[in-house]
Subunit: 416 residues, 2 copies
């Protein structure tokens, strides 16, 4: 049994480090399970802090704050990878449960540690080396050819901490700044995929269909589920790869394996051990969402069905765009939400409540259906309208009046 | 546009009077829309108060508490019908928005007011009369025959405030206790149905499929969506009836029309103007849940698609049963949740976090699928297991070990 339990409800209390949108959506899932997520936020205006009942303000790098968070909870988990390993070990030593544990989590925190582990396991990944000097990089490039990809081992996300270097001139400054770097071949990429699995301490594993993640400027823009046209054998291989990694590393909770699809198969890019942007589609598109599954897994509950609820699901991120500019004079957010709902009554909105800033992940939308082109078109157009206040010409409505009529027609149809 | 908005998010703030499970599930829906529900709860351990960030403790019969609740919100709405009409009028007079407004809401508060309004509109309902004396009741019974049904005009719910009287002897005490009563014929009932609609101030209406509600001892036990075997013409007539009532009464928000199906058609039993137990299935079973739709409607947002996500959805309530007894020695709640998840990985749990008491609505489960008998069997067995700790023989698993294997098989299948 999972102890300690909340004395008010006789059910578990999960603590999540981090107050962003992943924590916000995990709280939503916790509510259905009879729980209330305890959130460690750095600011009361953070996404999850705006909606959760049990919010503790504090710093995820401060052991005292982490100890306070863990007190009386069933298990501690994360919406990001930035908690120092030694603090997690201290929580374990004090008898708290931490999921994923520090020995697993370090593979999502440090890209060099991940590369070594995958090499030891013989799993497919890009050619790589650890580089401390310009000579290390040029020696590696002599083997694989320029350009090469330089990555900071820790702290990068959403394309930050990744540089494509076309020659030795571009390397010295970066090395000086960071000390050690991971250097990788630039792979011949067909597209990016993600394989998500959940794993419980008992060892049960649940797997979702492999998805395609469409990046723009290093940031996830769309997720197509399942990955369109993916060869069934390759899809199964990618799922099995994700399960092997989860088992070998002892992951507890959600694991997202970001993959490069190449002409020869798939290569592991990086890992996330938490709910992940590539799985937001599961809220509506799967019988069990990644957020509920993460809770089930860290609590050692049996996992839920990962069956899809429709043949196709598309998630599109809303990244702060033209409407986030200080000089934006078009419709405000609330007005844009009105138009969104009028024009796309079937598209599901998820808004994170954060301050609007250019490039920031502010929300996402999900559409479901049968025909990928139609579903994708609706999701992307809705997300773009929220971000930029612009309706893609391919999905334009002539004026608001026509949009209202359109929506009214759809609802008249619903009535019968 | 909807004003005032939350200055932190530039989005609306909905205040809900009442901290029960309807408020709890509405908060879940609010989170996706970028909002955080403001909840008026009477106790910090109430269902919604356990999970919402913005909780005000107070009394829904106290105008000062209601004024404090309304301050700075976009609109005030309800998870029950017990707010005095004059207080709602006072909020309106102070410039607050209240949805549904008191003129509509009174039809869900007072059964005599409802009967008069339906009579004036010529809508189908049981034969009825207002009774102040035993003679009033016997005169009515002389026309329609004994037994008759006596109802308190206000304050009844879940079968409370309803008595079947078989003769004049059973009437006097009740009249003395309540003054005026509503007396109705006992209709020849085939089954009970519910038609749910949402209506916005703009006048947009969205309608879900008509459902069958299965009552046990006056309390909703199961909801079958859509109502099995319901004649299409009668289903449409019931939907149109619900739309006419919503329009005529000026309902804003969700309206549930509880119906008796008789050999000749449908008769209106009573109304609820809020999310309702007969619509819990929409969380998973419809593109837009009743909770999201209620928020959209009271905010005058365009309404969402009410298309079903599967051919059949069944909701089963978990009413406090044997496991709620003080001398229960079987598996505790957390252990029962483990078994539930192991045995029914596709069934969705909604637990309200309330103290366990016999007969109390503690949670519900929803199952989706193609075959009504299978779907209903799974939902009902899962709910019964949570309530009574007993597995229905028709859905028994021989022991925990076999249940684990069964779940493991299902997940192995998911992986491929």
């Amino acid at each position: 049994m999972t102890t300690p339990l909340d004395p008010r409800t006789a059910l578990p209390v999960v603590a999540m480090v981090g107050g962003g949108q992943l924590s916000r959506m995990t709280h939503q899932a916790a509510i259905a399970l009879g729980q209330s997520l305890r959130v460690l936020a750095t600011d009361p205006a953070e996404s999850a802090a705006l909606v959760a009942a049990d919010v503790q303000l504090g710093d995820h790098r401060d052991l005292a704050d982490l100890r306070r968070l863990a007190e009386g909870t069933t298990v501690v988990t994360f919406d990001h990878e930035h908690v120092p390993t030694e603090h997690l070990q201290a929580l374990l030593d004090a008898g708290h449960r931490v999921a994923p544990g520090p020995a697993a989590l370090v593979h999502a925190q440090d890209k060099l540690v991940l590369r070594r582990a995958l090499a030891a396991a013989g799993e497919p990944q890009p050619a790589w080396a650890e580089a401390r000097t310009v000579h290390d990089v040029t020696a590696f490039a002599d083997e694989v050819g320029w350009p090469v990809v330089l990555k900071t081992p820790r702290g990068g996300y959403d394309g930050k901490g990744v540089v494509v270097a076309h020659g030795p001139d571009e390397v010295a400054d970066l090395l000086e700044q960071h000390g050690a770097l991971l250097v990788e071949e630039r792979v011949e990429m067909v597209r990016e995929l993600a394989a998500q699995v959940a794993r419980s301490p008992f060892g049960q594993v649940a797997v979702w269909p492999v998805v395609e993640t469409v990046q723009r400027a290093g940031v996830c823009n769309e997720v197509l589920a399942p990955a369109p046209g993916l060869d069934e054998e390759l899809a199964t291989a990618a799922q099995e790869l994700a399960v092997r990694i989860a088992d070998r590393l002892g992951v507890v909770g959600m694991l997202a394996v970001e993959l490069f699809q190449t002409p020869d198969g798939v290569l592991v890019n990086e890992l996330a051990m938490r709910p992940h942007n590539s799985g937001h589609w599961t809220i509506e598109g799967s019988r069990t969402s990644q957020f509920e599954q993460h809770l089930r897994a860290v609590l050692d509950y049996p996992l839920g069905s990962t069956a899809m609820t429709a043949p196709v699901a598309v998630m599109a991120n809303v990244l702060g765009g033209d409407t986030a500019a200080a000089d934006w004079t078009g419709p405000g957010l609330d007005e844009r939400v009105h138009h969104l709902m009028a024009h796309w009554p079937d598209v599901k909105l998820h808004w994170y409540g954060k301050g609007q800033r250019r490039g920031r992940k502010l929300g996402h939308v999900t559409a479901l259906g049968e025909d990928l082109a139609v579903v994708r078109g609706r999701a992307v157009a809705a997300a773009r309208y929220l971000a930029d206040g612009v309706v893609d010409p391919a999905f334009a409505f002539p004026d608001d009046h026509a949009a209202d009529e359109h929506a009214a027609d759809e609802h008249a149809a619903d009535e019968h």
